[in-house]
Subunit: 195 residues, 2 copies
DNA sequence: ATTGATATATGATTCAAATCATATGCGGTG
DNA sequence: CACCGCATATGATTTGAATCATATATCAAT
C-alpha cells in the first residue's frame, strides 16, 4: 500500500538505483542526512544503539517501503540502516525531494497521509505492548494485522514479529503452539489464520 | 514546539472556540470525522476501547497540541477524546483545512514535519517498552525526555507516565523510590532530575 | 469545611514470561 | 556436498514485575 503512494508521487524525480549486499550499512546513526531512500526489493533493518551499548530493532523495512522518513526534517540519522538481505534501494537527493514536494501539493499530501498511517500503526503496537498476557498480546496483534479472511501473511521471521510486539521469540513460539493446539490458530508456510 | 508550528500555518483559517467541561467527550470512537481539533488550554485524554472491553490510554494531549492527527485522512475516529480537565478547543472544519493545506505548501510542510516528529517519538517509546528491566526502562525514558539540565517536567500524573512506558503504577512508584534512595534521581514538585 | 475521587505509596504474594540451555531444521554459500 | 549461520522449537529454572491489598495524600467540587 505504501508502495503505490510513494511510486505515484516520486515518478517525476529521477532516483538513483543502489544495490546493497546483505549486512551492508546504508547509513550510520549520526550520519548527515543527504538522501531519502526507498526500498525496492529486499529487507532493511533499522537499529539504534542504546545508551547501555545494546542495539534495538526500530523497524524492518520491507520491499516497497520508504524508511527513516522522519530524517527528512533532521540533519542527522538517529538510527543505522543495515541490509538484512541483498537489497535494491532507490535514492533521492533530500534537497531535491523537499523542493519537489513544495511544488506539488498532491505529492506532499500523499506523504502526509503515509505519515498519518505510520502514527496510527505505531500507536496500535504501543497499545498492544501494554497487554500483559502473552496470549492476549499475540491474539490482539493478529486481529489487528489480519485481512478479511482472518489471515495474516508474515512478511518477516517469527523472531522479528516477536520483537515487534515486545515478546521474546521463545515465548512467542510457545504461544503460537498453544493457540494452534487449542484450535484457535492455523499455521501454513508464511501464514497465520485465526479460527 | 508543536504549538508554534500549528499556530503558524493555521492563522489564516478561522477556527471556532469550543469550551469543554471535565469528563466531557469531544468525540467518540466510531464518530464521523468532520473536524480537526487543536487544544488551546487544558488536557485531553485519547482512549481506545479494546476488544476485551477494556480501555487503553493512547495519548494525553496537552495545551498547544493538536491530536488525533491521523483522523484527517480517515472517515471515522479510531479513539474517543475525553477532557481530563476543563479545556478550550479550537475547531477547524476538516474539509476547509484540507483545501487550505493544498493551497499552502509551507503549511503542509509544517504539518508533515510535525507528523515526522510524532513517528520518531512513538518509535522511541516503542523501543523503551522493549526494555525488560523496570529500572532501565525508567532511566531510559527519563534520559530521552529530560532537558539539557537533566530535568524532566512531568506534564501528567506519574500514573499516566507509568502507563506510557508500559509499567504498572505500583512498579513505577517503587522504581522511582529506589532510584531516589540510590541517589540517582531527585524529585521535587513536578520535576524529576537525573544525577 | 466536608466529601468524594484520584494519585501516591508500600507491603505480601504469585505467577507467567524471561532466561538459560540445547536441539533440529533450513536456506545460502564456497 | 558439506558447512555455516540463523530461525524455529522446546525443556528447565529463575526472577522480577504484576497482582492484590490497604493506607495516606492531594485535589476538586459542593
Amino acid at each position: 500500500m505504501n508502495k503505490h503512494i510513494l511510486e505515484q508521487f516520486l515518478t517525476d524525480l529521477k532516483p538513483l538505483g543502489l544495490p546493497l549486499m546483505k549486512g551492508e550499512h546504508l547509513f550510520f546513526q549520526g550520519d548527515q542526512v543527504e538522501n531519502f531512500y526507498y526500498l525496492k526489493t529486499g529487507k532493511i533493518k533499522l537499529i539504534r544503539n542504546t545508551i547501555e551499548g545494546g542495539q534495538a530493532l526500530i523497524h524492518v523495512a520491507l520491499a516497497g517501503e520508504s524508511f527513516a522518513e522522519a530524517s527528512l526534517f533532521s540533519s542527522e540519522y538517529h538510527c543505522s540502516a543495515i541490509a538484512v538481505s541483498t537489497s535494491e534501494i532507490m535514492r533521492y537527493k533530500k534537497s531535491d525531494l523537499l523542493v519537489y514536494l513544495e511544488q506539488k501539493p498532491a505529492a506532499m499530501k500523499g506523504l502526509l497521509k503515509m505519515f498519518a498511517q505510520q502514527v496510527r500503526d505505531l500507536r496500535t503496537v504501543n497499545e498492544i505492548k501494554n497487554i500483559r498476557s502473552a496470549k492476549e498480546r499475540v491474539l490482539t496483534f493478529i486481529s489487528h494485522e489480519m485481512n478479511e479472511d482472518k489471515e495474516l501473511y508474515l512478511s518477516m521471521p517469527l523472531k522479528d514479529v516477536a520483537y515487534k510486539i515486545g515478546l521474546t521469540h521463545e515465548t512467542f513460539y510457545r504461544e503460537l503452539k498453544k493457540l494452534e493446539q487449542a484450535r484457535k490458530l492455523q499455521r501454513r508456510d508464511g501464514f497465520l489464520k485465526l479460527l
